[in-house]
């Protein structure tokens, strides 16, 4: 019985405490971003799509070996001056898990991850990317970096 009255009196006080918390938040400005018009700047280390500097690549295939999902494939041929030359470098984006192991393992930093994150597409073929094509990401939105 005593407990009943105690709760009857102190209960509302604790309810009001909660109301005060929500009211304080009601009058503080909203913190969300209006996404398509406002975009968050990407961080320096952000791991977006895999990108390649073909000149730097020494065809060591370390990235292909380390990839846990086998999303990279490269072939090379013998060039005119008997040097190894990149023939193809395929990147299957749909398999990629953006773990960044390939970029970390690359000895010459030829492979890196750019900041592109809006990667939805309605065509599955677009997800298989030829990394040797310099304009491969021209149609994708390029975000700003913090």
């Amino acid at each position: 019985m005593k407990n009943y009255f105690k709760r009857l009196i102190f209960g509302p006080i604790d309810l009001i405490k909660g109301l005060i918390v929500t009211f304080r938040n009601l009058i503080t400005p909203a913190i969300t971003l209006q996404y398509p018009t406002q975009k968050q700047a990407m961080t320096q280390r952000y791991r977006g799509l895999i990108d390649l500097y073909p000149v730097k690549c020494i065809m060591c295939s370390q990235c292909v070996k380390i990839c846990p999902t086998n999303c990279l494939a490269l072939t090379h041929k013998e060039g005119p001056d008997k040097k190894k030359e990149l023939e193809s470098f395929k990147y299957k984006m749909e398999l990629c898990c953006f773990c960044g192991l390939c970029a970390q393992v690359c000895p010459t930093a030829a492979l890196y991850m750019n900041k592109i994150y809006e990667i939805a597409t309605s065509n599955r073929k677009e997800l298989e990317i030829n990394l040797l094509n310099p304009d491969k990401y021209a149609e994708w939105a390029h975000p700003t970096v913090r």
């Binding site: 309810l15 909660g18 280390r45 070996k65 380390i66």
Partner: protein, 370 residues
């Protein structure tokens, strides 16, 4: 109509796999007598990705990104437990700075994970979205720090065997300190919003009581075990990394009801903040990174290592046959045993409490189904 023709029967409700509050794809087969739960059968496996089999075909380094996807709200802790297990297998020592960095990110992730647990718990009790959004707002700060540290927001893949991927970036300690300063008053906000709220108390006190004995019998770990009054925290009892250098308390509950589980998580938030504060102050200047991708070939043998993840004891059992791939890898996921006890807890409670108890156990299907 004759009375003898009338009969009542139990109502079978299939809660899930698509349901607003089953925390992923969990399917509960509920037998109801009116509003009261008579039985509850848990069906799992909707998120099965055969992680353990995948591990047998990956090298030790390659499996790190997969551990992100176990308990996807506490990826850092999963990474950590796995790399520590491999390091134990290799008998590898880690640079001191890397140890500190690991502690900092693991504790930050514990905060993020507990925030999510508290938010969804309140949501399950019907405080529609408001506490959840507050928790997400704070969790976002942690995620932004992680974004800065390792370049991703959910699946971090930050730990490496022998260290961490990158050293902490410039000025991040300032940001973490700011976060601690920002976080402390926010905890008071949650307290005001939930802790003593009479409706919240009514809904959580003395409901879903998990006794000490049952908890131990079901091998419940983590905050759920501590809420039942067992002082068991691997960070204190089997210290790994540099946890033995820090001062922190292990919050425990008394009754093991829903409120105690909530309380323990709230207290762990401030304890984690305390650990981070000490780690930031004591972090040594040294090399922390290692080169990944070096072929790791441990000697044949087996190892079991467990670490305290936000949900409990996360263990990795690795058998090596001397090759580059593990011969067998078994994951002991805390949520799995935490979910198993659900059937004991929900017998005789109302439908609404099933959701609440599930929320208070803080399970995560990614970890259960693996």
């Amino acid at each position: 109509m004759k009375m003898s023709n009338m009969h009542s029967e139990q109502l079978c409700v299939n809660m899930g796999p698509q349901h607003p509050s089953t925390h992923g794809v969990l399917y509960l087969d509920l037998r109801l007598d009116g509003e009261e739960v008579v039985d509850c059968i848990t069906h799992i496996g909707y998120l099965h990705r055969s992680m353990e089999k995948i591990a047998e075909n990956r090298t030790y380094t390659q499996f790190i990104p997969f551990t992100d996807r176990l308990d996807y709200v506490a990826s850092m802790n999963n990474n950590l437990a796995y790399v520590l297990a491999v390091e134990k297998l290799l008998n590898l020592d880690v640079p001191e700075r890397a140890k500190y960095i690991r502690v900092i990110v693991a504790e930050l992730n514990r905060i993020a994970s507990h925030l999510l647990a508290i938010g969804t718990f309140a949501q399950d009790l019907g405080a529609f979205a408001t506490p959840l959004f507050y928790c997400f707002r704070e969790r976002e700060k942690v995620i932004e720090i992680f974004d800065e540290v390792c370049g991703n927001r959910l699946t971090y893949n930050y730990m490496r065997i022998g260290g961490v991927q990158f050293d902490l970036p410039e000025g991040i300690d300032r940001r973490i300190k700011d976060f601690i300063k920002y976080m402390r008053p926010k905890i008071n906000d949650y307290e005001g919003l939930l802790t003593n709220n009479p409706i919240f108390l009514e809904r959580t006190k003395n409901i879903g009581i998990l006794s000490k004995e049952t908890a131990i019998n079901y091998s419940i770990t983590g905050p759920n075990l501590r809420a039942s009054g067992v002082q068991w925290d691997l960070r204190k009892d089997e210290p790994y990394l540099v946890y033995d250098k820090f001062e922190f308390a292990i919050p425990t509950g008394k009754n093991g009801d829903m409120w105690d589980r909530y309380r323990v998580r709230m207290d762990e938030l401030s304890q984690s903040l305390k650990i981070i504060e000490q780690a930031i102050a004591g972090i040594p200047e040294a090399q922390a990174t290692v080169k990944a991708g070096r072929m790791i070939k441990p000697a044949a043998g087996e190892v079991y290592f467990r670490a305290e993840s936000p949900r409990g004891e996360l263990g990795f059992y690795i058998v090596s046959d001397g090759s580059v791939n593990p011969y067998r890898l078994k994951i002991r996921a805390p949520s799995f045993s935490n979910l198993a006890v659900l059937r004991e807890l929900v017998k005789g409670v109302k439908v609404a409490d099933v959701v609440g108890i599930l929320g208070s156990l803080d399970i995560l299907m990614g970890e259960i189904d693996r």
